[in-house]
Amino acid sequence: MIMPSDPAEQLGQLRRMRLVSVVEGVTLLILVFVAVPIKHLGGHAIATTIMGPVHGMAFLLYVWTLIQTVSAVDLPTRDVVRMIVAAFIPFGAFLNAHTLRTRLALLASA
């Protein structure tokens, strides 16, 4: 695997990617399990009106950070494919966080 020569940059980028993955997943959880029930059971549409765009922004940031990470670090092809697929699967971002945690552990021990 070819890596940038600065390991700190590389680790930092993978940590940022993992953080954004978690944020994307958590905003989706709040949208689906908090805002949607409040709208349909409580009759308050404001919850989804706020959380919808917040999750939309988190998703856009996730896709952007994924593009940045793939451009910055040469990850194994299977990891890249998994992260791209995960972007379009509900809660797939949590799967990414796990993949990145494993990758970070490997790099930290290298």
Binding site: P4, S5, E9, G56, W64, I67, S71, A72, V73
Partner: protein, 142 residues
Amino acid sequence: MQVYLWLKALHVAATMTWISGTVVAGLAVASRMACAGIQAEQDRSFLAVVRRWDRSVSLPAMLLAWALGIVMAMQAGWFSSPWLMIKLAIVGALAALHGVLSGTLLRLNGSADQPSAILLYAAPAAILGVVMIAILVVTKPF
């Protein structure tokens, strides 16, 4: 109307900041292709400055431009307008270009790697995208 004008002014300011940062990042990556020897050492310092600017200014500006743009489009009910759909496609391409440049700046940090030759055209592509957006937004042809 007053709120809309403030949103619009901030959206334009954020967009100008984001795109100018993307153009500089494109030029910085292109400069690596032209540098060798002692010049490469000076180029590394320049790349480090551009990378810090990208992280602390261009990225937040892009996020602000997206957020304000979404709010404005929702307020004005433009999401069904064809011109906005085309604009969003161009914005997506510009964001992807910025992501590639940002990642490439990280990769080049302290490295002797050469960037992909196609990134030589990144800065002109960003300008072309902005020109197309300006025409679409001002004329709203369809």
